[in-house]
Protein backbone atom coordinates (compact mmCIF):
# COMPACT_ATOMS: atom_id res chain seq x y z
CA UNK A 1 0.00 0.00 0.00
CA UNK A 2 1.17 3.52 -0.82
CA UNK A 3 0.34 6.93 0.60
CA UNK A 4 0.79 9.97 -1.57
CA UNK A 5 0.18 13.47 -0.31
CA UNK A 6 1.22 17.05 0.28
CA UNK A 7 3.63 17.56 3.16
CA UNK A 8 3.50 19.98 6.08
CA UNK A 9 6.82 20.59 7.78
CA UNK A 10 7.44 21.07 11.51
CA UNK A 11 10.58 21.63 13.56
CA UNK A 12 12.36 19.71 16.33
CA UNK A 13 10.84 18.59 19.65
CA UNK A 14 7.19 19.14 18.69
CA UNK A 15 5.54 18.23 21.99
CA UNK A 16 2.16 16.65 22.60
CA UNK A 17 0.86 19.91 24.09
CA UNK A 18 1.51 21.55 20.72
CA UNK A 19 -0.14 18.62 18.90
CA UNK A 20 -3.26 18.74 21.09
CA UNK A 21 -3.32 21.30 23.92
CA UNK A 22 -4.64 20.02 27.26
CA UNK A 23 -7.38 22.66 27.21
CA UNK A 24 -9.17 20.42 24.68
CA UNK A 25 -8.65 17.15 26.56
CA UNK A 26 -11.98 17.23 28.35
CA UNK A 27 -13.20 15.07 25.48
CA UNK A 28 -11.80 11.97 23.82
CA UNK A 29 -13.94 12.28 20.67
CA UNK A 30 -11.49 12.00 17.72
CA UNK A 31 -13.48 14.37 15.44
CA UNK A 32 -13.65 17.02 18.17
CA UNK A 33 -9.92 16.67 18.91
CA UNK A 34 -9.08 16.88 15.20
CA UNK A 35 -10.47 20.45 15.12
CA UNK A 36 -7.44 21.50 17.18
CA UNK A 37 -4.71 19.31 15.66
CA UNK A 38 -1.24 20.94 15.90
CA UNK A 39 -2.92 24.17 16.99
CA UNK A 40 -0.16 25.42 19.29
CA UNK A 41 2.50 24.71 16.67
CA UNK A 42 0.50 26.39 13.87
CA UNK A 43 -2.92 27.89 14.75
CA UNK A 44 -4.01 27.70 11.07
CA UNK A 45 -3.10 24.03 10.64
CA UNK A 46 -6.56 22.60 11.46
CA UNK A 47 -8.00 24.70 8.60
CA UNK A 48 -5.20 23.97 6.15
CA UNK A 49 -4.75 20.23 6.54
CA UNK A 50 -6.52 18.03 3.98
CA UNK A 51 -7.33 14.32 3.86
CA UNK A 52 -4.23 12.38 2.81
CA UNK A 53 -1.69 15.06 3.76
CA UNK A 54 1.58 14.02 5.39
CA UNK A 55 3.33 15.58 8.41
CA UNK A 56 7.13 15.81 8.24
CA UNK A 57 9.14 16.81 11.30
CA UNK A 58 12.61 17.12 12.71
CA UNK A 59 13.83 15.09 15.74
CA UNK A 60 11.88 13.90 18.82
CA UNK A 61 8.37 14.37 17.40
CA UNK A 62 5.65 13.89 20.03
CA UNK A 63 7.74 14.43 23.14
CA UNK A 64 6.08 15.11 26.48
CA UNK A 65 2.81 13.69 27.67
CA UNK A 66 1.51 10.15 27.13
CA UNK A 67 -1.80 11.44 25.75
CA UNK A 68 -2.92 9.11 23.00
CA UNK A 69 -5.14 11.99 21.92
CA UNK A 70 -2.06 13.25 20.02
CA UNK A 71 -1.82 10.47 17.40
CA UNK A 72 -5.62 10.07 17.53
CA UNK A 73 -6.25 13.68 16.48
CA UNK A 74 -3.58 13.55 13.76
CA UNK A 75 -5.22 10.43 12.33
CA UNK A 76 -8.73 11.87 12.69
CA UNK A 77 -7.65 15.03 10.84
CA UNK A 78 -7.00 12.82 7.80
CA UNK A 79 -3.19 12.86 7.95
CA UNK A 80 -2.09 9.62 6.28
CA UNK A 81 1.27 9.27 8.04
CA UNK A 82 4.00 11.11 9.94
CA UNK A 83 7.65 11.14 8.88
CA UNK A 84 10.27 12.41 11.35
CA UNK A 85 13.99 12.22 12.03
CA UNK A 86 13.05 10.54 15.33
CA UNK A 87 10.00 10.06 17.54
CA UNK A 88 9.60 10.36 21.29
CA UNK A 89 9.12 6.91 22.81
CA UNK A 90 5.53 7.06 24.04
CA UNK A 91 4.27 8.75 20.86
CA UNK A 92 6.00 6.04 18.79
CA UNK A 93 4.27 3.30 20.79
CA UNK A 94 0.90 5.04 20.74
CA UNK A 95 1.01 5.62 16.99
CA UNK A 96 1.68 1.95 16.31
CA UNK A 97 -0.93 0.85 18.85
CA UNK A 98 -3.71 2.94 17.26
CA UNK A 99 -2.64 2.35 13.65
CA UNK A 100 -1.21 5.75 12.67
CA UNK A 101 1.64 4.93 10.26
CA UNK A 102 4.94 6.58 11.22
CA UNK A 103 8.30 6.53 9.47
CA UNK A 104 11.70 7.40 10.90
CA UNK A 105 14.22 8.87 8.47
CA UNK A 106 16.84 11.52 9.16
CA UNK A 107 17.33 12.12 5.43
CA UNK A 108 13.61 12.59 4.76
CA UNK A 109 13.28 14.92 7.75
CA UNK A 110 16.21 16.92 6.38
CA UNK A 111 15.42 17.09 2.67
CA UNK A 112 11.65 17.24 2.35
CA UNK A 113 10.45 20.86 2.10
CA UNK A 114 6.97 22.01 3.04
CA UNK A 115 4.57 21.52 0.15
CA UNK A 116 6.57 18.73 -1.49
CA UNK A 117 4.43 15.85 -2.69
CA UNK A 118 5.72 12.62 -1.22
CA UNK A 119 4.87 8.95 -1.82
CA UNK A 120 5.42 6.39 0.95
CA UNK A 121 5.49 2.63 0.44
CA UNK A 122 4.06 1.41 3.74
CA UNK A 123 5.48 -2.09 3.42
CA UNK A 124 9.06 -1.20 2.56
CA UNK A 125 9.33 2.25 4.17
CA UNK A 126 10.63 3.68 0.90
CA UNK A 127 9.81 7.39 0.73
CA UNK A 128 9.73 8.99 -2.73
CA UNK A 129 9.81 12.77 -2.99
CA UNK A 130 7.78 13.25 -6.17
CA UNK A 131 8.42 17.01 -6.26
CA UNK A 132 12.23 16.72 -5.98
CA UNK A 133 12.66 13.31 -7.56
CA UNK A 134 14.53 11.92 -4.55
CA UNK A 135 14.20 8.75 -2.47
CA UNK A 136 14.83 8.11 1.22
CA UNK A 137 14.67 4.85 3.17
CA UNK A 138 12.89 4.78 6.56
CA UNK A 139 14.19 2.58 9.39
CA UNK A 140 12.41 -0.79 9.20
CA UNK A 141 10.21 -1.85 12.13
CA UNK A 142 11.29 -4.79 14.32
CA UNK A 143 9.39 -7.99 13.41
CA UNK A 144 7.14 -7.90 16.47
CA UNK A 145 6.06 -4.34 15.76
CA UNK A 146 5.36 -5.25 12.15
CA UNK A 147 3.10 -7.99 13.55
CA UNK A 148 1.22 -5.37 15.60
CA UNK A 149 0.90 -3.12 12.57
CA UNK A 150 -0.33 -6.02 10.42
CA UNK A 151 -2.90 -6.95 13.05
CA UNK A 152 -4.25 -3.38 12.85
CA UNK A 153 -2.97 -2.23 16.23
CA UNK A 154 -2.48 -3.56 19.73
CA UNK A 155 -6.13 -4.14 20.64
CA UNK A 156 -6.70 -6.43 17.65
CA UNK A 157 -3.47 -8.21 18.49
CA UNK A 158 -4.45 -8.73 22.14
CA UNK A 159 -7.99 -9.74 21.18
CA UNK A 160 -6.59 -12.45 18.90
CA UNK A 161 -4.33 -13.61 21.72
CA UNK A 162 -7.23 -13.67 24.21
CA UNK A 163 -9.40 -15.64 21.78
CA UNK A 164 -6.63 -18.20 21.39
CA UNK A 165 -6.55 -18.51 25.18
CA UNK A 166 -3.10 -16.95 25.32
CA UNK A 167 -3.86 -14.64 28.22
Amino acid sequence: MDFQGRTWKFGADVDTDAIIPARYLNTSDPAELAKHVMEDADPEFPNKVKEGDIIVADKNFGCGSSREHAPICIKAAGVSCVIAKSFARIFYRNAINIGLPIFESVEAGEKIQEGDVVKVDVNTGLITNVTRNEQYQATPFPAFMQQLINAGGLINYVREKVNKGGV
Binding site: D13, D17, A22, S28, S66, E68, H69, S86
Partner: protein, 420 residues
Protein backbone atom coordinates in the same frame (compact mmCIF):
# COMPACT_ATOMS: atom_id res chain seq x y z
CA UNK B 1 26.38 -12.02 32.71
CA UNK B 2 26.21 -8.68 34.51
CA UNK B 3 22.94 -6.76 34.38
CA UNK B 4 21.64 -3.34 35.34
CA UNK B 5 18.82 -2.99 37.87
CA UNK B 6 16.36 -2.29 35.02
CA UNK B 7 17.46 -5.41 33.13
CA UNK B 8 17.13 -7.54 36.28
CA UNK B 9 13.61 -6.33 37.06
CA UNK B 10 12.48 -6.80 33.46
CA UNK B 11 14.06 -10.27 33.26
CA UNK B 12 12.33 -11.36 36.46
CA UNK B 13 8.96 -10.17 35.16
CA UNK B 14 9.49 -11.84 31.78
CA UNK B 15 10.33 -15.18 33.42
CA UNK B 16 13.89 -15.08 32.09
CA UNK B 17 17.31 -15.46 33.71
CA UNK B 18 18.63 -12.53 31.77
CA UNK B 19 17.71 -9.98 29.13
CA UNK B 20 19.78 -7.75 26.88
CA UNK B 21 19.23 -4.24 25.54
CA UNK B 22 17.21 -4.32 22.33
CA UNK B 23 15.46 -7.57 23.22
CA UNK B 24 11.66 -7.53 22.92
CA UNK B 25 9.96 -9.12 25.92
CA UNK B 26 6.51 -9.56 27.37
CA UNK B 27 6.54 -8.71 31.07
CA UNK B 28 4.04 -9.34 33.87
CA UNK B 29 2.67 -6.12 35.33
CA UNK B 30 2.35 -5.34 39.03
CA UNK B 31 0.32 -2.17 38.53
CA UNK B 32 -1.56 -0.56 35.62
CA UNK B 33 -2.53 3.08 36.18
CA UNK B 34 -4.69 5.62 34.33
CA UNK B 35 -6.18 9.04 35.07
CA UNK B 36 -9.23 11.06 34.09
CA UNK B 37 -7.70 12.11 30.74
CA UNK B 38 -6.24 8.79 29.67
CA UNK B 39 -8.63 6.27 31.26
CA UNK B 40 -11.69 7.22 29.17
CA UNK B 41 -9.78 6.24 26.00
CA UNK B 42 -8.38 3.15 27.75
CA UNK B 43 -11.85 2.04 28.91
CA UNK B 44 -13.23 2.29 25.35
CA UNK B 45 -10.31 0.20 24.07
CA UNK B 46 -10.61 -2.26 26.97
CA UNK B 47 -14.25 -2.89 26.08
CA UNK B 48 -13.21 -3.79 22.52
CA UNK B 49 -10.96 -6.61 23.76
CA UNK B 50 -13.94 -8.55 25.07
CA UNK B 51 -12.61 -9.93 28.35
CA UNK B 52 -15.11 -10.20 31.21
CA UNK B 53 -12.96 -8.31 33.71
CA UNK B 54 -9.61 -6.74 34.53
CA UNK B 55 -6.67 -9.09 35.15
CA UNK B 56 -6.54 -8.23 38.86
CA UNK B 57 -8.88 -5.84 40.65
CA UNK B 58 -6.13 -4.87 43.13
CA UNK B 59 -3.65 -3.99 40.40
CA UNK B 60 -5.64 -1.68 38.14
CA UNK B 61 -5.49 1.82 39.64
CA UNK B 62 -7.62 4.76 38.54
CA UNK B 63 -6.97 8.27 39.84
CA UNK B 64 -9.07 11.18 38.58
CA UNK B 65 -6.60 14.01 39.25
CA UNK B 66 -6.16 16.14 36.14
CA UNK B 67 -9.43 18.04 35.75
CA UNK B 68 -10.75 17.31 39.25
CA UNK B 69 -12.59 18.48 41.24
CA UNK B 70 -14.37 18.53 37.85
CA UNK B 71 -13.78 21.83 36.11
CA UNK B 72 -16.69 21.59 33.65
CA UNK B 73 -19.43 19.29 32.40
CA UNK B 74 -17.26 17.58 29.80
CA UNK B 75 -14.58 16.68 32.34
CA UNK B 76 -17.27 15.54 34.78
CA UNK B 77 -18.50 13.11 32.11
CA UNK B 78 -14.95 11.79 31.69
CA UNK B 79 -14.45 11.33 35.43
CA UNK B 80 -17.80 9.52 35.60
CA UNK B 81 -16.49 6.93 33.13
CA UNK B 82 -13.72 6.06 35.62
CA UNK B 83 -16.17 5.91 38.52
CA UNK B 84 -18.56 3.62 36.61
CA UNK B 85 -15.72 1.38 35.43
CA UNK B 86 -14.28 1.15 38.96
CA UNK B 87 -17.69 0.12 40.32
CA UNK B 88 -18.35 -2.40 37.57
CA UNK B 89 -14.97 -4.08 37.98
CA UNK B 90 -14.86 -3.65 41.79
CA UNK B 91 -11.47 -1.96 41.67
CA UNK B 92 -9.77 -1.73 45.07
CA UNK B 93 -7.70 1.29 44.11
CA UNK B 94 -10.04 3.89 42.72
CA UNK B 95 -9.54 7.24 44.43
CA UNK B 96 -12.49 9.60 44.51
CA UNK B 97 -12.11 13.32 45.17
CA UNK B 98 -11.55 13.66 48.92
CA UNK B 99 -9.47 10.49 48.98
CA UNK B 100 -7.44 11.15 45.88
CA UNK B 101 -4.18 12.94 45.38
CA UNK B 102 -1.94 13.65 42.43
CA UNK B 103 -1.37 10.10 41.19
CA UNK B 104 2.42 10.06 41.40
CA UNK B 105 2.40 11.42 44.96
CA UNK B 106 -0.45 9.13 45.94
CA UNK B 107 0.63 5.67 44.74
CA UNK B 108 3.96 5.57 46.62
CA UNK B 109 2.37 7.13 49.72
CA UNK B 110 -0.39 4.49 49.72
CA UNK B 111 2.14 1.66 49.26
CA UNK B 112 0.55 0.62 45.96
CA UNK B 113 3.95 0.63 44.23
CA UNK B 114 7.21 -0.65 45.68
CA UNK B 115 10.78 -1.73 44.93
CA UNK B 116 11.20 -4.32 42.18
CA UNK B 117 7.76 -3.73 40.61
CA UNK B 118 7.00 -3.37 36.92
CA UNK B 119 4.45 -0.58 36.53
CA UNK B 120 2.87 0.97 33.47
CA UNK B 121 0.75 4.08 33.67
CA UNK B 122 -1.16 6.03 31.07
CA UNK B 123 0.60 9.16 32.24
CA UNK B 124 4.10 10.07 31.16
CA UNK B 125 5.25 10.85 34.72
CA UNK B 126 4.67 7.25 35.79
CA UNK B 127 8.48 7.08 35.72
CA UNK B 128 8.33 8.72 39.20
CA UNK B 129 8.13 5.30 40.90
CA UNK B 130 11.63 4.48 39.68
CA UNK B 131 12.72 6.39 42.79
CA UNK B 132 11.68 3.29 44.77
CA UNK B 133 13.87 0.99 42.70
CA UNK B 134 10.98 -0.11 40.49
CA UNK B 135 10.71 -0.21 36.69
CA UNK B 136 7.97 2.28 35.91
CA UNK B 137 7.18 3.80 32.53
CA UNK B 138 4.53 5.94 30.88
CA UNK B 139 2.42 4.47 28.10
CA UNK B 140 -0.66 5.50 26.15
CA UNK B 141 -4.26 4.53 26.79
CA UNK B 142 -4.24 1.54 24.43
CA UNK B 143 -1.22 0.00 26.15
CA UNK B 144 -2.94 0.59 29.49
CA UNK B 145 -6.12 -1.08 28.18
CA UNK B 146 -4.19 -4.13 26.99
CA UNK B 147 -2.41 -4.23 30.36
CA UNK B 148 -5.69 -3.97 32.27
CA UNK B 149 -7.02 -6.95 30.32
CA UNK B 150 -3.96 -9.18 30.15
CA UNK B 151 -1.70 -8.13 33.04
CA UNK B 152 1.18 -8.00 30.57
CA UNK B 153 2.93 -5.50 28.33
CA UNK B 154 5.60 -5.72 25.66
CA UNK B 155 8.84 -3.81 26.12
CA UNK B 156 12.06 -3.32 24.26
CA UNK B 157 14.74 -3.72 26.94
CA UNK B 158 16.40 -0.30 27.09
CA UNK B 159 20.09 0.51 27.15
CA UNK B 160 21.01 2.45 30.26
CA UNK B 161 22.85 5.67 31.01
CA UNK B 162 24.48 5.77 34.44
CA UNK B 163 24.47 9.18 36.07
CA UNK B 164 26.86 9.58 39.00
CA UNK B 165 26.21 12.55 41.29
CA UNK B 166 29.29 13.24 43.41
CA UNK B 167 29.84 15.70 46.22
CA UNK B 168 27.49 17.66 48.42
CA UNK B 169 24.57 19.84 47.45
CA UNK B 170 24.78 23.57 48.10
CA UNK B 171 22.11 25.41 50.10
CA UNK B 172 18.76 25.67 48.22
CA UNK B 173 19.81 22.94 45.77
CA UNK B 174 17.73 19.76 45.66
CA UNK B 175 16.57 16.91 43.45
CA UNK B 176 14.82 19.36 41.11
CA UNK B 177 18.06 21.18 40.41
CA UNK B 178 19.99 17.95 39.81
CA UNK B 179 17.45 16.74 37.27
CA UNK B 180 17.06 20.14 35.54
CA UNK B 181 20.86 20.40 35.34
CA UNK B 182 20.98 16.90 33.84
CA UNK B 183 18.27 17.65 31.26
CA UNK B 184 20.05 20.89 30.42
CA UNK B 185 23.21 18.86 29.86
CA UNK B 186 21.88 15.98 27.73
CA UNK B 187 18.81 17.62 26.15
CA UNK B 188 15.12 16.70 25.91
CA UNK B 189 15.96 13.63 23.83
CA UNK B 190 19.31 12.92 25.46
CA UNK B 191 18.05 9.65 26.94
CA UNK B 192 15.54 8.74 24.21
CA UNK B 193 14.44 5.08 24.57
CA UNK B 194 17.02 4.66 27.36
CA UNK B 195 16.99 3.97 31.07
CA UNK B 196 18.36 6.71 33.33
CA UNK B 197 20.02 5.24 36.41
CA UNK B 198 20.72 7.82 39.10
CA UNK B 199 23.61 6.91 41.40
CA UNK B 200 26.33 8.41 43.56
CA UNK B 201 26.91 9.91 46.96
CA UNK B 202 24.52 12.83 46.46
CA UNK B 203 21.68 10.45 45.55
CA UNK B 204 22.36 8.30 48.61
CA UNK B 205 22.09 11.45 50.73
CA UNK B 206 18.91 12.58 49.00
CA UNK B 207 15.55 12.11 50.76
CA UNK B 208 12.78 10.06 49.15
CA UNK B 209 10.95 13.27 48.19
CA UNK B 210 14.03 14.52 46.33
CA UNK B 211 14.44 11.17 44.62
CA UNK B 212 10.81 11.16 43.44
CA UNK B 213 11.39 14.59 41.89
CA UNK B 214 14.39 13.30 39.95
CA UNK B 215 12.81 10.09 38.65
CA UNK B 216 9.65 12.07 37.81
CA UNK B 217 11.45 14.12 35.16
CA UNK B 218 13.32 11.27 33.41
CA UNK B 219 10.68 11.57 30.68
CA UNK B 220 11.73 15.19 30.08
CA UNK B 221 15.04 13.82 28.78
CA UNK B 222 13.15 11.28 26.66
CA UNK B 223 13.98 8.46 29.09
CA UNK B 224 12.01 5.24 29.19
CA UNK B 225 12.49 5.07 32.95
CA UNK B 226 14.44 6.75 35.70
CA UNK B 227 15.62 4.48 38.47
CA UNK B 228 17.38 4.66 41.82
CA UNK B 229 18.47 1.53 43.69
CA UNK B 230 16.58 0.99 46.92
CA UNK B 231 18.63 1.59 50.08
CA UNK B 232 17.82 2.13 53.76
CA UNK B 233 16.10 5.46 52.95
CA UNK B 234 13.81 3.57 50.55
CA UNK B 235 13.15 0.72 52.98
CA UNK B 236 12.30 3.19 55.77
CA UNK B 237 9.80 4.84 53.42
CA UNK B 238 8.26 1.61 52.13
CA UNK B 239 7.95 -0.26 55.45
CA UNK B 240 4.50 0.13 56.92
CA UNK B 241 3.08 1.23 53.55
CA UNK B 242 3.69 -1.64 51.12
CA UNK B 243 0.50 -3.43 50.19
CA UNK B 244 2.43 -6.29 48.54
CA UNK B 245 5.80 -7.96 49.17
CA UNK B 246 8.59 -6.04 47.47
CA UNK B 247 12.04 -7.01 46.23
CA UNK B 248 15.25 -5.01 46.15
CA UNK B 249 17.35 -5.27 42.98
CA UNK B 250 20.78 -3.75 42.44
CA UNK B 251 22.90 -3.25 39.34
CA UNK B 252 25.93 -5.48 39.03
CA UNK B 253 29.17 -3.58 39.37
CA UNK B 254 30.28 -4.65 35.92
CA UNK B 255 26.89 -4.00 34.27
CA UNK B 256 27.13 -2.45 30.80
CA UNK B 257 26.05 1.14 30.22
CA UNK B 258 25.69 3.07 26.96
CA UNK B 259 27.23 6.07 28.74
CA UNK B 260 28.40 7.06 32.20
CA UNK B 261 27.99 10.74 33.07
CA UNK B 262 29.42 12.24 36.27
CA UNK B 263 28.51 15.51 37.94
CA UNK B 264 30.18 17.44 40.74
CA UNK B 265 27.12 18.53 42.70
CA UNK B 266 28.98 21.21 44.63
CA UNK B 267 29.14 23.13 41.31
CA UNK B 268 25.37 22.91 40.67
CA UNK B 269 23.34 26.01 41.53
CA UNK B 270 19.58 26.26 41.86
CA UNK B 271 18.55 25.84 38.23
CA UNK B 272 15.76 27.42 36.18
CA UNK B 273 14.45 26.07 32.85
CA UNK B 274 13.43 28.88 30.50
CA UNK B 275 10.62 28.60 27.93
CA UNK B 276 9.82 26.51 25.98
CA UNK B 277 11.77 23.34 26.73
CA UNK B 278 13.01 21.82 30.00
CA UNK B 279 16.52 21.69 28.47
CA UNK B 280 16.78 25.50 28.34
CA UNK B 281 18.35 25.68 31.77
CA UNK B 282 20.32 28.44 33.44
CA UNK B 283 21.86 28.60 36.90
CA UNK B 284 20.00 31.09 39.11
CA UNK B 285 23.00 33.45 39.02
CA UNK B 286 22.55 33.84 35.24
CA UNK B 287 18.80 34.33 35.09
CA UNK B 288 18.82 38.13 34.78
CA UNK B 289 15.61 40.10 35.33
CA UNK B 290 12.52 38.06 34.58
CA UNK B 291 9.35 39.52 36.08
CA UNK B 292 6.57 37.07 36.86
CA UNK B 293 2.79 37.16 37.22
CA UNK B 294 2.28 33.82 38.94
CA UNK B 295 4.07 31.23 41.06
CA UNK B 296 2.83 27.63 41.17
CA UNK B 297 4.17 25.35 43.88
CA UNK B 298 3.11 21.71 43.81
CA UNK B 299 2.49 18.98 41.18
CA UNK B 300 3.69 15.37 40.87
CA UNK B 301 7.20 16.82 40.63
CA UNK B 302 7.29 19.03 43.74
CA UNK B 303 4.04 18.64 45.70
CA UNK B 304 5.41 16.60 48.60
CA UNK B 305 5.81 17.61 52.22
CA UNK B 306 9.48 18.57 51.95
CA UNK B 307 8.68 20.78 48.98
CA UNK B 308 6.01 22.57 50.98
CA UNK B 309 8.34 22.94 53.98
CA UNK B 310 10.98 24.48 51.75
CA UNK B 311 8.50 26.95 50.27
CA UNK B 312 7.20 27.82 53.75
CA UNK B 313 10.74 28.41 55.02
CA UNK B 314 11.14 31.08 52.35
CA UNK B 315 7.63 32.58 52.66
CA UNK B 316 7.79 32.84 56.46
CA UNK B 317 7.44 36.46 57.51
CA UNK B 318 7.13 37.72 53.93
CA UNK B 319 4.34 38.68 51.54
CA UNK B 320 3.80 37.71 47.94
CA UNK B 321 4.73 40.64 45.67
CA UNK B 322 1.77 42.84 44.76
CA UNK B 323 2.02 41.94 41.06
CA UNK B 324 2.07 38.21 41.68
CA UNK B 325 -0.45 35.54 42.61
CA UNK B 326 0.98 32.44 44.25
CA UNK B 327 -0.78 29.08 44.58
CA UNK B 328 0.31 25.99 46.51
CA UNK B 329 -0.98 22.53 45.51
CA UNK B 330 -0.24 19.80 48.08
CA UNK B 331 0.13 16.42 46.35
CA UNK B 332 -2.27 14.36 48.45
CA UNK B 333 -4.78 14.65 51.28
CA UNK B 334 -2.16 13.19 53.67
CA UNK B 335 0.40 15.80 52.62
CA UNK B 336 -2.30 18.46 52.98
CA UNK B 337 -3.08 17.33 56.53
CA UNK B 338 0.55 17.13 57.50
CA UNK B 339 1.29 20.59 56.10
CA UNK B 340 -1.67 21.93 58.04
CA UNK B 341 -0.52 20.22 61.26
CA UNK B 342 2.97 21.67 60.84
CA UNK B 343 1.54 25.17 60.53
CA UNK B 344 2.70 25.59 56.93
CA UNK B 345 -0.74 26.79 55.82
CA UNK B 346 -0.61 29.63 58.35
CA UNK B 347 2.67 30.72 56.81
CA UNK B 348 1.28 30.47 53.27
CA UNK B 349 -1.96 32.25 54.03
CA UNK B 350 -0.22 35.00 56.02
CA UNK B 351 2.02 35.50 52.99
CA UNK B 352 -1.09 35.83 50.74
CA UNK B 353 -0.50 32.47 49.07
CA UNK B 354 -3.62 30.54 47.99
CA UNK B 355 -3.76 26.88 49.05
CA UNK B 356 -5.61 24.44 46.79
CA UNK B 357 -6.95 20.93 47.18
CA UNK B 358 -4.72 18.36 45.40
CA UNK B 359 -5.05 18.49 41.59
CA UNK B 360 -2.79 18.48 38.52
CA UNK B 361 -4.74 21.67 37.61
CA UNK B 362 -2.45 24.39 36.30
CA UNK B 363 0.56 22.19 35.48
CA UNK B 364 -1.04 21.09 32.22
CA UNK B 365 -3.14 24.20 31.69
CA UNK B 366 -6.22 22.41 32.97
CA UNK B 367 -7.66 24.76 35.58
CA UNK B 368 -6.87 26.56 38.87
CA UNK B 369 -4.21 28.98 37.66
CA UNK B 370 -4.34 29.43 33.89
CA UNK B 371 -2.18 32.13 32.33
CA UNK B 372 -3.47 34.94 30.10
CA UNK B 373 -1.71 36.05 26.91
CA UNK B 374 1.74 37.40 27.65
CA UNK B 375 1.80 36.28 31.29
CA UNK B 376 4.68 34.47 32.95
CA UNK B 377 4.71 31.88 35.70
CA UNK B 378 7.48 30.34 37.69
CA UNK B 379 6.44 26.80 38.53
CA UNK B 380 7.79 23.77 40.36
CA UNK B 381 6.11 21.63 37.69
CA UNK B 382 7.81 19.61 34.97
CA UNK B 383 7.05 21.13 31.55
CA UNK B 384 7.34 24.58 30.06
CA UNK B 385 6.15 23.83 26.53
CA UNK B 386 4.29 26.46 24.48
CA UNK B 387 0.83 26.93 26.01
CA UNK B 388 1.48 24.41 28.77
CA UNK B 389 -0.13 26.54 31.50
CA UNK B 390 -2.61 28.46 29.41
CA UNK B 391 -2.44 30.90 26.51
CA UNK B 392 -0.04 29.86 23.72
CA UNK B 393 1.71 33.21 24.22
CA UNK B 394 2.26 32.72 27.96
CA UNK B 395 5.53 31.48 29.48
CA UNK B 396 6.50 28.93 32.13
CA UNK B 397 9.84 28.85 33.97
CA UNK B 398 10.65 25.68 35.93
CA UNK B 399 12.42 25.71 39.29
CA UNK B 400 12.58 24.17 42.74
CA UNK B 401 10.09 25.25 45.47
CA UNK B 402 12.53 27.61 47.25
CA UNK B 403 13.24 29.56 44.06
CA UNK B 404 9.52 29.65 43.21
CA UNK B 405 8.67 31.03 46.67
CA UNK B 406 11.48 33.59 46.57
CA UNK B 407 10.37 34.66 43.09
CA UNK B 408 6.78 35.10 44.31
CA UNK B 409 8.07 37.48 47.01
CA UNK B 410 10.49 39.34 44.72
CA UNK B 411 8.08 39.67 41.77
CA UNK B 412 10.86 38.39 39.53
CA UNK B 413 12.81 35.14 39.32
CA UNK B 414 15.33 35.14 42.13
CA UNK B 415 16.95 33.27 44.98
CA UNK B 416 15.97 33.05 48.67
CA UNK B 417 19.32 34.78 49.30
CA UNK B 418 17.84 37.93 47.77
CA UNK B 419 14.78 37.94 50.02
CA UNK B 420 15.36 40.54 52.75
Amino acid sequence: MAMTITEKILAAHAGKDRVEPGELISAKLDIVLANDITAPVAIKEFDKIGVPGVFDKDKVVLVPDHFTPNKDIASAEQAKMLRDFAKKHELTNYFEVGRMGIEHCLLPEAGIVGPGDVIIGADSHTCTYGALGAFATGVGSTDAAAGMASGEAWFKVPEAIKFVYNGELSKWVGGKDLILHTIGDIGVDGALYQSMEFTGEAIRNLSMDGRFTMANMAIEAGGKNGIIEADQTTIDYVEGRAQRPYKVYKSDEDAKYARVIEYDCSQIEPTVAFPHLPENTRPISEVGTVEIDQAVIGSCTNGRIEDLRLAAEVFKGHKVHKNVRAVVFPGTQQIYKQAMAEGLFDIFIDANVAVSTPTCGPCLGGHMGILAKGERSIATTNRNFVGRMGHPESEVYLSNPAIAAASAILGRIGSPEEVE
